[in-house]
């Protein structure tokens, strides 16, 4: 872990400043996770993930019946119990399962399922069925409106990627930002900076700006070091999602006050030739999330983080004629991290008891959100749905 004395000795910027940069004070606190230090990372699986081929009900006779071409070989699945197993590409999620860091909520959906990508995604992001509320504020934005903004001026929520901040993290008061590259936080090599003035402890505006600049440069230097010399165990696969998770990890390690991070993994709308692309997507998802957690674990920060993976709907039970699947209804939601109540939650969808060819939902997704807000982030909310006991006490 990072040596504080070494840093202070080497940094000429600090030679005249009596104050300690905020992040150094923060890392001392990181040892023990307190409610207001907990972080949520949401990974949105864009396009409608085929839950049946992700959390496979291999013991259900409906699986072989409806999935003739797309049926995954039972012996290659990563068994979670004697009824369901994970897609064989998800070896890293298997490792998380074995170490009690994976929770699978089965059959998550909502009443009167909507099969439009935009509408269903808006429902998941806003918890509202009223289209007029689909472009205003989202479930996380509203929650973050209830809490104080991060003291260091960081946004309350950050999308990492090149998309616009999704409605889920937009609130009335809270600030959501998007960031694409780490170089927004690194000083150019050649930048000229002068030493801080003699008295930065006063509260007048000049002292405030001087102190802030010392803080900022210290953080930039910290981030550069993290980039140059990654901690052991932090070897990320070379995928877009993993790059985004890696950036999130560096921000967390640098003590940023942001509590909610959001990333999008696209490509799940597998109407045709599903097998190869679904394989790659699930492999990238599990390997990326695994590397992320391992990275944080080495820095002893993983107990502060939970990852939530969801998709706007599952897919139809019966495969189509193009070796793919069409838009469906309920699907699995994953929660990952040391703080979760590991295991399978809610009922495995029954492929023989369908609603017009689609899975019946086992649990309302809003109960998952309710758990996240009440039990993990500990933010007051007015969701009516009861939490699901998804986190360790």
């Amino acid at each position: 872990m990072f040596n504080r004395r070494e840093f202070l000795k080497r940094s000429s910027l600090l030679s005249l400043a009596p104050t300690v940069p905020a992040f150094l004070a923060n890392t001392a606190r990181a040892a023990e996770a307190k409610p207001d230090d907990r972080i949520l990372v949401v990974i949105q699986l864009d396009g409608g993930n085929d839950g049946i081929n992700t959390v496979v009900p291999f013991a259900d006779e409906g699986y072989a019946k409806y999935r003739k071409e797309l049926k995954l070989p039972t012996d290659r699945l990563i068994k979670l119990n004697d009824e369901v197993g994970l897609h064989q590409a998800m070896g890293d999620f298997g490792k998380l399962w074995e170490t009690d860091r994976l929770a699978v909520v089965q059959g998550a959906g909502y009443p009167n399922p909507n099969r439009s990508h935009d509408v269903s995604m808006a429902i998941w992001q806003t918890c509202s069925f009223d289209p007029q509320e689909h472009n205003t504020h989202g479930w996380l934005g509203r929650a973050l409106d209830q809490v104080q903004r991060p003291q260091d001026g960081s946004p309350a929520a950050m999308l990492v990627g090149d998309e616009q901040p999704p409605i889920a993290i937009r609130g009335r008061r809270s600030v959501a930002a998007a960031i694409d590259r780490i170089d927004e936080f690194t000083l150019p090599e050649s930048a000229v900076t002068s030493k801080a003035g003699p008295d930065v402890s006063a509260n007048d505006l000049t002292s405030f700006v001087q102190r802030s600049s010392v803080d900022a440069f210290a953080t930039a230097e910290r981030l550069s070091e993290l980039a140059a010399k990654p901690d052991a165990g932090a070897s990320y696969p070379n995928t877009t999602l993993a790059n985004r998770l890696s950036l999130i990890s560096r921000l967390i390690k640098s003590g940023f006050g942001t509590r909610v991070f959001y990333a999008v993994q696209s490509g799940y709308d597998t109407h045709a030739a599903q097998l190869p692309s679904h394989f790659r997507l699930l492999r990238d998802l599990s390997s990326g999330v695994f590397a992320f957690l391992e990275d944080l674990r080495v820095s002893k920060l993983d107990d502060r983080v939970t990852v939530l993976c969801f998709s706007e709907f599952g897919r139809r039970v019966k495969e189509n004629a193009s070796l793919g699947t069409d838009h469906g209804t309920a699907g699995p939601v994953f929660l990952v991290g040391p703080g979760i109540n590991a295991g399978l939650h809610s009922k495995t969808p029954n492929l023989n008891n369908l609603a017009k060819g689609d899975l019946k939902m086992s649990v309302d997704f809003r109960q998952i959100y309710s758990s996240v807000l009440s039990e993990w982030l500990e933010i007051p909310h007015n969701m009516e749905q009861k939490p699901l006991d998804l986190f360790d006490a």
């Binding site: 007029q132 472009n135 205003t136 260091d152 001026g153 960081s154 946004p155 616009q164 901040p165 937009r170 609130g171 009335r172 008061r173 809270s174 600030v175 959501a176 930002a177 960031i179 927004e184 936080f185 690194t186 000083l187 150019p188 050649s190 930048a191 000229v192 900076t193 002068s194 030493k195 801080a196 003035g197 003699p198 007048d204 505006l205 000049t206 405030f208 700006v209 001087q210 802030s212 600049s213 803080d215 900022a216 440069f217 953080t219 930039a220 940023f256």
Partner: protein, 449 residues
């Protein structure tokens, strides 16, 4: 407000001229500063109010150029080009005060294209801000609130007799006029009822009778079958509105600790007695003793737009200017993305402009601007040209003093010494004078104005 008279403890000097331009414009060039120094405060302020403050770099066909650039952005429905259009105006308009007030109103009526999704609608709103910037506030409020941008942004169309949507009513009262604490939740519900029927069609305001709830309402203690227009008038007449607008103007032109609550109260009363006339209010502020007092100098954090546009003008990087598209990316990176305020509260400003990301960004910007990589082809600060403005010898100290007076509102010999030490102490590997400008622009002290 007591009027400003140059005196021993508040002389009309370079510092005050720079201060005037930083607050009422973006930044003056050295020649503009000298002109105003020679002509005195009254003439300098006259020029700002008349829209003739900037001379350097102002193209003869500015209005035409601006219209062409704006129209092209709208035709392409490209929001980034709209941002570039506005930055073009801020850098090259002879009337920076109007652009500052337009920016202030953009923040006051914070509307984001993320939801509106239509560049022509955003431009139209922007032009309303510009046109009505100094009119009596009632006129501005009425135009803005009945313009598609706000109506779309605040779900006016969903606000119907059968199912009211309180968004427009709430923000009208909390943010655009009276401010929180001056009305009840019931007032918001009643106001929402009064505003039913306000919709847009084909990019125009349209009142739809059948959506309108014309029942009796009780609003701010009065009873009646109020329409939206009635509500607007009631809200404009309320003293809290004058107070909030007074606060908004003082927030714009005064810094931390410069003006007490009582002074703002008095100013609010005066505003109210003059029909909330913004032009008169702005003039009163600019000509006031409080505006030029030492405790109002260097006491605001320069917002990203002010910092970026101010640097470009002060350093006379106008021929060619940096790409306005690139500049708009920079202001977004520093936390102020034009046409995309973070939420309905706009940009809070003040100390909140200073975050880790934005401080790093400001240093990185200073580096790229000074070295010239924001211009095509690369063209750093024209140090030779700027050095000619320095009287006498071009020693390091004299140059540092000149550069500091351009870029830093309150500096000291000690500050200049620190700058010279960090820059000139290094081996002579290039144009260190240019590095000096960069170091000053990147310094914490230069983030204030």
């Amino acid at each position: 407000m007591k009027a400003y008279e140059p005196s021993g403890h508040s002389p009309w000097n370079v510092q005050r001229v720079v201060h005037l331009h930083r607050r009422a414009g973006f930044a003056a060039t050295w020649q503009e500063i000298q002109r105003d120094l020679d002509d005195g405060p009254d003439a300098a302020i006259d020029r700002l109010l008349a829209g003739k403050a900037y001379a350097t770099g102002v193209p003869e066909d500015f209005d035409t150029m601006s219209r062409v650039i704006g129209d092209a952005a709208v035709a392409a429905n490209n929001p980034n080009r709209l941002k570039a259009w506005w930055l073009y105006r801020m850098i090259f308009s002879p009337d920076p005060l109007t652009e500052r007030l337009t920016l202030m109103w953009h923040n006051h009526f914070a509307t984001s294209n993320l939801k509106v999704g239509d560049v022509s609608v955003m431009r139209r709103q922007n032009e309303i801000f510009r046109e009505c910037a100094r009119k009596p506030f009632g006129e501005l409020l009425t135009r803005v609130v009945k313009d598609p941008a706000i109506l779309i942004w605040l779900d006016a169309d969903s606000n119907r007799k059968q199912h009211p949507n309180e968004n427009l009513a709430r923000e009208l009262m909390e943010l655009f006029s009276m401010g929180v604490g001056n009305y009840t939740e019931n007032d918001v519900k009643q106001a929402a009822r009064g505003l039913t029927g306000w919709t847009t069609k084909n990019g125009q305001f349209r009142f739809v009778e059948q959506y309108h709830d014309n029942g009796e309402k009780e609003f701010l203690g009065k009873r009646g079958t109020f329409t939206g227009d009635d509500l607007l008038q009631t809200v404009l007449d309320h003293p809290a509105t004058a107070r909030r607008i007074a606060w908004r103007l003082c927030d714009q032109f005064f810094g931390e600790g410069a003006l007490g609550e009582e002074a703002i109260d008095e100013f609010a009363t005066e505003l109210r007695n003059h029909d909330l006339d913004i032009r008169r209010a702005v003039e009163t502020i600019l000509r006031s003793e409080a505006f030029f007092a030492a405790k109002n100098i260097g006491t605001r954090v320069l917002g990203p737009i002010e910092f970026v546009v101010g640097a470009v003008r002060a350093l006379e990087m106008l021929d060619p200017p940096p790409s306005t598209l690139v500049l708009s990316e920079w202001t977004a990176r520093l936390g102020q993305d034009l046409f995309y305020p973070p939420n309905v509260f706009g940009w809070s400003g003040g100390r909140e402009w200073i975050t880790t990301r934005s401080m790093i960004g400001r240093v990185a910007f200073a580096s790229e601007l000074a070295r010239g990589s924001l211009r095509r082809p690369d063209k750093p600060v024209d140090v030779a040209k700027l050095s000619k403005y320095v009287d006498g010898d071009s020693t390091h100290e004299a140059l540092a003093e000149f550069a500091t007076s351009l870029l830093v509102p309150v500096s000291s010999k000690e500050f200049r010494q620190r700058i010279c030490d960090s820059v000139f102490a290094k081996e002579d590997t290039g144009d260190l004078t240019c590095r000096m400008f960069e170091a000053i622009l990147a310094s914490p002290e230069a983030q204030l104005g």
